[in-house]
């Protein structure tokens, strides 16, 4: 290290770090009421098209009044609840709340110190962005869901991991021992902590790949940031040789077409984007991303995601121990072990990107809505947040209602 100039510091050592980190990164693991087998997923609800009278938000978000059928007092009460939890630093845990209805902003509020230009951390919502980039390459014919996952370390014919496909990785059913709660090396309390911030952080792909198969691919679900990193690596290697080239692809293929100009992907030292955990974006860009999925992968006159890709993303991954994970998106279906209830009492058609510390992009086909909630979870809990967001959604009538 050279040329080090000091500007500020905090003090004192800390122990038991990795265990804390692992528990914090797992999105509400173990909060589900357990069921032996998940019930059948209801038929997918049709995704609402963009009204020809509403401009796409590629340049700027159109705005509209909340409209008839919404009780302003009920809305105020739901919003106040979300902003009522004040965390460390005397800042509300909810830093941004954005409601999109029928393609238009009907509500937008930020905590003091934050605004429309503020960038927020995705945490695991990054996985859903990685899903989009995989879809774009499938649409272009450069990747196929049921081809062997192009992980260089798995390509020997006698390597059992050569049976793992891109579909398995997106469904988190690869069977590879790289789930967030796996032991990992060194034994510091969890694989994901080592992957993101420990010995794996300089080359997340190599670290996530260097694990054995412990279940036949496609048979067991396990939440795996490592799998998302591997998908990001497959995408990165398919499009460019280095981080600059990969960044250019992400911009031209996904971010620029939807007008997400305030979104930054982070890359590791090996030049791969951290597609399982580290993207920063404004609330309005997150809403653009949600709208892309609400509109079935269409944007203006362009199909960005293959036909059927959003349905694949919001269809429950086929594994007996999976209740409500699709393909890098969560579904409002009964959870299984190590999963959680999304919006209690909300429509089963809801699907969402979800990240540590209460990051949400909630897509509601029945209401033609996207809800973005960003911030921290210093003084609240997943259950409280989920319930408050369900109350917010209840304020709005379903489309046509």
């Amino acid at each position: 290290m050279t040329n080090v100039s000091r500007v500020g510091r905090k003090h004192a050592p800390a122990l038991g770090l990795a265990l804390w980190l692992t528990l914090a990164l797992l999105p509400a693991a173990g909060r589900a009421d357990l069921a032996t087998k998940a019930p059948e997923q209801p038929a997918l609800v049709a995704l609402p098209p963009q009204s020809p009278d509403v401009p796409w938000p590629t340049q700027a978000w159109p705005r509209a009044e909340i409209g008839p059928g919404v009780d302003p007092l009920a809305l105020e009460s739901a919003v106040e609840t979300l902003f009522s939890w004040v965390g460390r630093g005397d800042v509300p845990d909810t830093r941004a709340l954005l409601v999109i209805r029928q393609g238009q902003v009907v509500f937008e509020r930020y905590a003091e110190g934050f605004g429309p230009e503020s960038r927020f951390h995705t945490w695991s919502m990054a996985k859903s962005f990685t899903n989009a980039l995989a879809g774009i390459l499938v649409e272009r014919g450069e990747l196929a869901l049921d081809d062997a996952a192009r992980v260089p370390e798995w390509q020997e014919p006698d390597d059992p991991r050569s049976a793992v496909t891109l579909r398995h990785l997106l469904n988190m059913t690869s069977g590879v021992d790289n789930a967030d709660s796996s032991g990992g090396e060194p034994d510091t309390g969890g694989f994901v902590a080592s992957l993101l911030f420990g010995v794996g952080a300089t080359d997340v792909n190599a670290f996530a790949a260097d694990r054995p198969l412990i279940h036949p691919p496609g048979t067991r679900w396990a939440y795996s940031t490592g799998s998302s990193m591997l998908v990001a690596g497959i995408i990165g290697r398919a499009v460019a040789e280095d981080a600059e080239g990969r960044r250019a692809f992400i911009r031209s293929a996904l971010l620029d077409p939807i007008g997400a100009r305030n979104t930054i992907f982070e890359f590791d030292r090996a030049g791969q984007f951290l597609g399982g955990s580290h993207i920063y974006a404004s609330a309005r860009d997150f809403a653009r991303f949600g709208l892309l999925y609400l509109r079935d992968g269409l944007w203006e006159d362009q199909r960005l995601l293959p036909e059927g890709w959003v349905d694949f993303s919001r269809t429950r991954a086929p594994a007996d121990n999976n209740g409500n994970h699709g393909a890098h998106f969560w579904l409002n279906l009964p959870p299984q072990e190590h999963q959680f209830v999304l919006l209690p009492g909300g429509p089963t058609s809801v699907f969402e990107a979800n990240g540590n510390a209460g990051q949400y992009v909630i897509i509601v086909p029945t209401h033609d809505m996207v809800i973005v909630r960003l911030g921290e979870m210093h003084s609240t809990s997943w259950n409280e947040l989920n319930t408050a967001l369900a109350k917010l959604l209840e304020v709005f009538p379903a489309s046509g209602g």
Binding site: D187, T188, G198, T202, I264, D268, H378
Partner: protein, 103 residues
């Protein structure tokens, strides 16, 4: 009798040393993750989210917020150093448009 006690003391001391080595290695690994977490998260908060260093610290998990950190300049690149004295020292460096990366 004295030789027997000496033998027991020797075994206990060896066991304590072995346990100490394992405990130290585990402590170092945990400190490395903690220092890496602080370095990366504060780096991204300051240079990607463009918030003040001071405003970023309360967002760290409470147990992590006690790890030392400072803004550094490394060969013209801004970054954040996170460290636990005698155990671990990590740096995350910011590169424009590519975010922060741990060394």
């Amino acid at each position: 009798m004295k030789r027997k006690w000496m033998r027991i003391v020797q075994i206990v001391l060896i066991a304590l040393v072995v346990l100490g080595v394992f405990a130290y290695q585990d402590l170092r690994a945990q400190a490395s993750i903690g220092a890496g977490y602080v370095a990366h998260q504060v780096c991204s908060c300051v240079f990607v989210a463009e918030r003040s260093y001071e405003s970023c610290l309360p967002d760290l998990m409470p147990i992590m917020s006690q790890i030392r950190s400072e803004v550094v300049d490394i060969d013209g690149h801004s970054g954040i150093r996170g460290w636990v004295p005698f155990l671990s020292d990590r740096v995350a460096v910011h590169r424009p448009d590519l975010g922060c990366a741990l060394d």
